[in-house]
């Protein structure tokens, strides 16, 4: 623990204030370092006192995250972080509660809690570090591993079809869904900031490299040279343009996406326009289906729809109950219901 902040003096928080005294124990070259650094940079800018942050995690490499944050935090059990965080947020709505999870933690053992957090739209910020592999148990395939992935438990290649975390979140009704790559720090920082500002559940998938067990899983997206053609950055109100020359785009052909080249009888006006605020999640879901090798991988904010957060609705219920019945007290509680007197 760092020394206590002097609360008498207004203290301008910096990245340093969010670094705990624990040695970071991820493998050299792990994408988690970048996410940690970006979060530590972001938090001081949010205008929230440090003591009001809580980081909750489950089990896995990603779940060591809270130990490295000089905030309140809990390293809990496998897959359950969203459930624990939900209880914390619901009982303490004023806190900024973050969940850091991985593809195994969130989508395999914790799949149920993950989808229900999305469904409720409870004010959690959930960062999923997706390296498409089980790292802490030393290299087994995960629910996001591509078919054919050879691991210690799939020596002949995986036959499981992978989840798209973004599609799963959208299918569960998530109001904020975004994706970033660990190597594009500026964009990662932007996406995290957008998540922090969202009311309700904000879900960010970070495509993140595991240099030990699944190196280069996102090679095309990671490298500055290939990223412009391998990825498409979603921007609200703008057409879906990508490519090094910014001359390629996505348009809708019937219900199917199609990559077209701008200029060859096509203009930007023919392309799909991104609308992250659409009340319907259809467009966001459509975009979540775009994947390599036929399509560029969408990065950025798929959906940012403003809807009442679960904890707000819950507080309203309590206020309504007090307005209707009056604030309860102990005597009233005990003597409520059907009573009689024996003399």
């Amino acid at each position: 623990m760092n020394s206590p902040v002097d609360i008498a003096q207004p203290h301008v928080l910096s990245k340093k204030d969010f670094e705990s005294d624990q040695d970071v124990r991820w493998c050299p070259g792990c994408g988690d370092y970048a996410v940690l650094a970006q979060v530590q940079k972001l938090l001081p800018t949010l205008g929230i006192p440090r003591e009001n942050f809580a980081f909750i995690s489950g089990i896995g490499c990603s779940s060591r995250f809270p130990y490295y944050m000089e905030t309140y935090g809990m390293h809990s059990i496998h897959g359950r972080a969203p459930a624990i965080a939900s209880g914390l947020k619901l009982s303490r709505p004023e806190l900024s509660v973050w969940v850091v999870t991985g593809d195994g933690d969130a989508l395999a053992i914790g799949g149920n809690h993950f989808i229900h957090a999305m469904r409720r739209n409870i004010g959690l910020k959930i960062i999923l570090l997706n390296n498409r592999i089980y790292g802490l148990t030393k290299g087994q395939y995960s629910p996001t591993s591509e078919q054919g992935t050879k691991t210690k438990t799939t020596p002949m290649g995986s036959i499981d079809r992978p989840f798209s975390p973004v599609a799963l979140a959208l299918g569960a009704g998530a109001t904020f869904v975004a994706r970033a790559v660990d190597t594009d720090l500026k964009h990662l920082s932007y996406v995290l900031e957008r998540a922090a500002q969202h009311k309700g559940t904000a879900f960010v998938e970070v495509l993140q490299n595991c240099p030990v067990f699944n190196d280069e899983a996102y090679a095309a997206l990671s490298s500055k040279a290939t990223r412009p053609d391998a990825a498409i950055v979603l921007e609200h109100g703008k057409p879906l343009v990508f490519g090094k020359e910014r001359n390629k785009g996505i348009r809708l052909s019937g219900f199917e996406p199609e990559v077209v080249t701008i200029g060859e009888g096509m203009s930007e006006a023919d392309l799909l326009m991104h609308d992250e605020k659409s009340p319907q999640a259809g467009l966001a879901f459509f975009l979540s289906q775009l994947a390599a090798p036929d399509f560029p991988v969408p990065l950025g904010v798929f959906r940012a729809f403003d809807a009442p957060a679960y904890e707000e609705l819950n507080s309203q219920l309590a206020e309504e109950a007090v307005a209707k019945k009056g604030r309860g007290d102990l005597a009233r509680l005990l003597y409520s219901g059907d009573t009689w007197t024996i003399e």
């Binding site: 624990q22 440090r50 003591e51 009001n52 130990y67 059990i77 059907d338 009689w340």
Partner: protein, 614 residues
């Protein structure tokens, strides 16, 4: 029926009684639970003590007329203290042949059977497996049989009510209730007021039910169907304000009260499961208190959300029954490691697996005491009656916050659903519940301990005390991750010492301080044991009874007590789980008395065993 005047009078007269046991049985859609509950309240308001036992199938509406669809509600009421719902009914109200068939063997010889003749038609007789109509073939000659076409009388009373045939059918339980109120000389006015309140939003149903109730009463009175009506003796019940309460309602109230007493908000995270769901439902109606209810996506999320709330500074609760308890196991271990206050209520039911969801059993004791990975001590307490659930909830909350530990509170489907009158306690008489969150950052170490070996409770949002906790082993003081071998040994030992050192009251003995036989019980067997012991004592036997509320740790004086009797008998609704614990802890032989039939002990079953032993 224990009458004071054994002569059956030819002319109609009123007879005084000490106690009576009535069982209402019918299809699960016949409203038997409601009828029984209403009747209980009616007799309670007359100053009688009572105890009930609802017995219902796990199907919500089983096919009508079938043996497995029979739902029953038994009540014993008395002018003396009532310990149980009674061994054998004096009166059986049977709404159909299946109900008669499945319950007749329990009825006292010579008891009253009130049969709803309208339902004794060929199709129902076949479904119940009767070759001939038992109401006509003389097979009930040993009983006082009263045949009433409840359905037909109810229908004719409600001919002009404008209700559909189906709706009229739903009123027949009030006709039956009217008959019973007449038999026991209870006034109708209070019941009518009850119905008006209950159906306040549906006044036409209220009117119909009141008509059915009056019709039943009038029928019994005017036809002089009963040669005798009964008047209960004046009651010895303590004066004061009462309410009828089930164990689940008392549990809910107890935790809401703990919140009020401590000023700490209550959070319950639970997943619906029979027979525990009522606790979540009761608390969901208390949003005007500092109560947050969260119906989680599964049992695991139930306990995990509660852990999150406990971390946030709430009094945290999760409620479940056996199978759900199994699912919560890993998270319970986390709570032990985190050393956060949390109460887990297990309203036990028949197991293993899905088992007998609506039936009573006490077979989760060893699970509660031992059922986790690692050395994982958790305090365990058990309530012995519906109203005792209130006191046990306060006690569980006290231990949880004082020692910063999860606590398991065991109740069961018997007391969870059963009702009894509860003398409402004075607010001033309730124990204080002191909670101090630490806010002093100077010198703070997350796992430094106080004199009770409890660590400090620090709410997120407290400046300067940001720290991390988790399921990995932690350093003895700082709480940072530690894989140091000696530190682990020290942590395992201190967690065990903390739970072993919890301050609990000494065990109390009912009966002689030493002697031939000691009966040790826990949980819902209390009533049957207490009454059997009283009967044995009256018969001159040297029998004592200790009923354990605290099962882990056990009272410090228990070992000494056990040694003072020649024989120790342990009746349990399992195959001897407390017996194992007692043998293991006190190295002494005890005799189990086991019953696993989804039913509570009859008083006679324990009494007979006492007579065999001394």
């Amino acid at each position: 029926m224990q009458t004071t005047d054994g002569n059956l009078a030819k002319s109609r007269h009123v007879e005084e009684l000490d106690s009576v046991v009535i069982r209402f049985v019918g299809d699960s859609g016949d409203g038997m639970q409601l009828t029984g509950a209403e009747f209980s309240k009616a007799v309670a308001k007359a100053g009688h003590d009572f105890s009930t036992y609802p017995d219902y199938p796990s199907e919500i509406r089983a096919p009508t007329g079938t043996l497995f669809g029979v739902s029953g509600y038994q009540i014993q009421f008395s002018s003396r203290p009532v310990f149980t719902s009674g061994d054998a009914p004096d009166v059986l109200v049977a709404m159909n042949p299946a109900a008669l068939k499945t319950n007749l063997s329990d009825v006292k010889r010579g008891g009253i059977i009130i049969a709803n003749t309208g339902a004794f038609v060929d199709s129902n007789l076949v479904k119940a497996g009767y070759q001939k109509n038992p109401l006509e073939d003389g097979s009930l000659d040993g009983y006082q049989l009263f045949k009433i076409d409840i359905g037909e009388f109810t229908a004719s009373a409600l001919r002009d009510s404008g209700l559909s045939k189906k709706e009229v059918g739903r009123c027949k339980n009030y006709f039956a209730l009217g008959v019973m109120l007449c038999l026991y000389s209870r006034p109708l006015e209070k019941e009518i007021a009850e119905i008006r309140e209950k159906f306040a939003k549906k006044p036409h149903f209220a009117a119909a039910n009141i008509t059915a109730l009056r019709a039943g009463y009038a029928y019994a009175e005017s036809t002089e169907m009963f040669a005798i009506t009964y008047q209960m003796r004046e009651s010895a019940v303590l004066p004061g304000r009462y309410r009828s309460i089930t164990g689940n309602a008392a549990t809910a109230l107890g935790f809401a009260a703990a919140s009020e007493l401590s000023g700490v908000p209550l959070f319950i995270g639970s997943y619906p499961i029979t027979p525990a769901t009522d606790i979540l439902q009761e608390l969901a109606a208390l949003k005007h208190y500092k109560v947050t209810t969260f119906q989680a996506e599964d049992e695991i999320a139930g306990i995990c959300s509660a852990i999150g709330a406990a971390y946030g500074g709430s009094l945290a609760l999760t409620t479940t029954s056996g199978p759900g308890m199994a699912l919560k196991t890993e998270a319970l271990g986390l709570a032990v490691m985190l050393e956060l206050p949390l109460v887990v209520v297990n309203v036990q039911r028949g197991g293993p697996s899905t088992g007998l969801p609506t039936k009573v059993e006490q077979s989760d004791l060893l699970q509660a005491v031992y059922g986790r990975n690692g050395e994982c001590p958790v305090p365990v307490i058990a309530s012995h009656s519906p109203s005792d659930c209130f006191d046990c909830a306060l006690e569980a909350a006290r231990i949880a916050v004082k020692y910063m530990t999860p606590v398991i509170l065991l109740t069961d489907g018997g007391i969870g659903n059963a009702a009894e009158p509860w003398l409402i306690p004075d607010v001033a008489s309730l124990p204080k519940l002191q909670v101090n969150y630490r806010t002093e950052a100077e010198g703070f170490q997350a796992y430094a301990r106080d004199e009770n070996l409890a660590r400090a409770w620090v709410r997120p949002g407290t400046p300067g005390m940001e720290h991390r906790i988790g399921g990995l082993e932690k350093d003895f003081f700082s709480g940072d991750i530690s894989h140091d071998p000696l530190n682990h040994q020290r942590m395992v030992e201190v967690r065990a010492a903390k739970v072993a050192g919890i301050d609990i009251p000494p065990a109390k003995i009912d009966g002689p301080e030493s002697g031939d036989l000691l009966i040790v019980g826990w949980g819902s067997t209390y009533g049957s044991i207490a009454q059997a012991r009283e009967m044995a004592e009256a018969a001159g036997k040297s029998v004592a009874h200790v009923h354990l509320r605290h099962l882990n740790p056990m009272p410090a004086n228990l070992g000494g007590i056990l040694a003072r009797y020649k024989t120790v008998l342990v009746p349990e609704l399992n195959l001897g789980q407390l017996s194992r614990l007692l043998r293991e802890r006190y190295l002494l032989e005890v005799l189990p008395l086991s019953k696993v039939q989804g039913k509570p002990f009859k008083v006679s079953e324990i009494y007979d065993r006492i007579l065999e032993l001394c």
